[in-house]
């Protein structure tokens, strides 16, 4: 749990480094003073009420949708997706 992860690992981007252009933006935030200090998104609550949730049902994809999903497989064998060897750490 205490392992330190660098941004290149967090981002899965080789050799990635924080950029100066973006750090300049963050410096402004660090020095800014919000008028309130809560961070619960009070003023733009886009949550859905419990009464308004959509039905929890499984919707079957159409045949054409399934076919396109398979077409998009980067690598396939006998109609199945092939993935790289999974490693365990």
């Amino acid at each position: 749990m205490s392992k330190i992860m660098t941004v290149d690992v967090l981002s899965s981007i080789k050799g990635a480094q924080p950029s100066e252009a973006v750090n300049k933006l963050f410096d402004v935030i660090k020095n800014a003073q919000p008028t309130n200090n809560n961070s619960f998104n009070n003023n733009h609550n886009n949550g859905v009420s419990l009464n308004d949730l959509r039905d929890d049902v499984v919707i079957e994809s159409s045949a054409i949708e399934k076919q396109i999903i398979i077409e998009n497989f980067p690598k396939a064998k006998n109609g199945y997706l092939v993935v790289s060897k999974v490693i365990e750490e």
Partner: protein
């Protein structure tokens, strides 16, 4: 400019033109264009649909207002069976398996899609230069950028290649290119139009937005796309905006503008002078104008980018080449992810993902991300108070005129700052329209949340006033 949709509809009904001829003419213009607006043409689909409209007309059947009207789609929307690349290497061969709700509603109304339009990759940019299809060139001057991220869409409308186009606006991506190419572009209230099938950039500000040459065409297209959708639970039910309701602007009594936007050192002197002249013309019509206080531009830009980067880092984490996309295999799964993402994302996209992961990580989130959220609350509160005082907020769209192609890529921080006038309204989730009037890059008209009608009403008033 009158409604092109109505004009073409009448020509089709009167049999002055055939739908097939109309579609073919626009397809030819798109194919020949040198502004780099096209990622892919939907010619077969469009001509098939046009033939059906012609058959209906020949048969004496009534056609709907949007039936046979050609339109464009920013290449971040799913349209079943079409390539949806987000102008990226990663998805350059990706085909949509389904169709976005907003686009489906237009298809159901009979509108004909012609083109998937060039834009900044994943919406990451303000110039439409961050694309694998070549920089979009401005409709008025090909040496200048088309604006972004919906640059291809705005240029297509400005050049009459499409009657309207559907862009996406997260921090100004419809309004800014609309301003740079002198057309109308609307970012509706967040949640008015379903985001289902729009590739997610920053989900809490992503909006579907129409671009067109008249207020009336914006109104028609907005009405068709609006509405609650079970596939996007942030959507809400809205009432249709009638044409009649836009003709009367008597209920607009007070207009405000942000003093600090105009007094900023960054604003082009001509844009400033033209904006203030517009304010005088509005006053002369008997409308009260109030100066308003607002957050400094650098705080607006930093708050927006902090939250947008955090959201895009999260949204784009799914793009790892496993199930779709241009996978590059390496020695194991983790290496494959990293190589695929390193090789296929643009520099700007990588910069934003890394920035997002920086602010979301332990030790940074309190100091930056959570503070960004608190600032967003303060900004929303500021808007709520403003709209107790004024009906409409008017502002320039951009501090400057469109840069030369190549300049924005050299200085990303300057590019971020050029979004100073658009990002605040995105954070507030407010309806904002760019009208191609008042300054060289237009003016933005903003109203309180869910009051998109008032925005269009004021745009009509402005059209007759200046």
């Amino acid at each position: 400019m009158k409604s092109q949709i109505k004009q073409l509809h009448q020509q089709l009904v009167n049999k002055d033109i055939s739908c097939t001829a109309l579609i073919q003419e626009r397809l030819n213009a798109l194919k020949a264009n040198t502004n780099n607006t096209v990622n892919s043409l939907l010619d077969t689909l469009a001509l098939d649909l046009a033939a059906k409209v012609d058959a209906k007309i020949a048969n004496g059947d009534t056609i709907g207002l949007l039936e046979g009207i050609p339109f464009g789609i920013k290449d971040v929307y799913m349209v079943q069976g079409t390539y949806t690349t987000a102008s990226s290497d990663l998805l350059k061969k990706y085909k949509s398996a389904y169709t976005a709700t907003a686009i489906q509603k237009l298809l159901d109304a009979g509108a004909i899609p012609l083109v998937k339009e060039n834009c900044d990759s994943f919406g990451h940019g303000s110039s439409s230069e961050n694309t694998i299809f070549g920089a979009v060139k401005n409709a008025n001057n090909p040496n200048l950028v088309g604006g972004g991220s919906s640059g291809g869409s705005a240029v297509n409308v400005a050049k009459d290649y499409t009657v309207f186009s559907i862009g996406g606006d997260t921090g100004g991506s419809v309004r800014q290119p609309a301003g740079y190419n002198n057309v109308y572009g609307l970012k509706p209230t967040y949640g008015r139009i379903s985001r289902f099938g729009l590739m997610a950039y920053a989900s809490s500000t992503d909006c579907v937005g129409p671009i067109a040459k008249s207020v009336e065409d914006i109104r028609i297209v907005l009405n068709v796309m609006s509405g609650k959708d079970g596939k996007d639970q942030t959507t809400y039910a809205s009432t249709e905006i009638s044409e009649e309701s836009l003709s009367n602007s008597k209920d607009i009594k007070t207009v405000g503008y942000f003093k600090n936007f105009i007094e900023s050192e960054a604003i082009d002197p001509k844009i400033k002078a033209d904006f203030l002249a517009t304010i005088e013309k509005i006053k002369a019509k008997g409308i009260e104008v109030k100066e308003l206080d607002f957050f400094k531009s650098d705080i607006l830009v930093s708050t927006y980018y902090t939250l947008a980067m955090a959201e895009t880092a999260s949204n784009l984490s799914r793009l790892d080449g496993s199930n779709y996309g241009n996978r590059i295999d390496d020695k194991n799964l983790k290496e494959s992810y990293a190589v695929t993402r390193s090789e296929n994302f643009s520099e700007e996209t990588k910069r934003r993902i890394v920035g997002g992961n920086q602010v979301l990580s332990q030790g940074f989130s309190d100091e930056i991300y959570l503070k960004g959220l608190a600032l967003r609350d303060s900004i929303s509160e500021n808007f709520e108070n403003d709209f107790k005082e004024v009906d409409i907020i008017l502002s320039p769209v951009t501090p400057g005129t469109p840069p030369k192609i190549g300049d924005s890529l050299k200085d990303p921080h300057a590019m971020y700052l050029s979004d100073a006038y658009t990002v605040g309204f995105s954070l507030g989730q407010l309806p904002t329209l760019t009208a191609p009037q008042g300054t060289e890059t237009g003016v933005q008209i903003t109203a309180a949340r869910n009051n998109d009608e008032l925005v269009l009403k004021f745009a009509n008033f402005l059209k007759d006033t200046i």
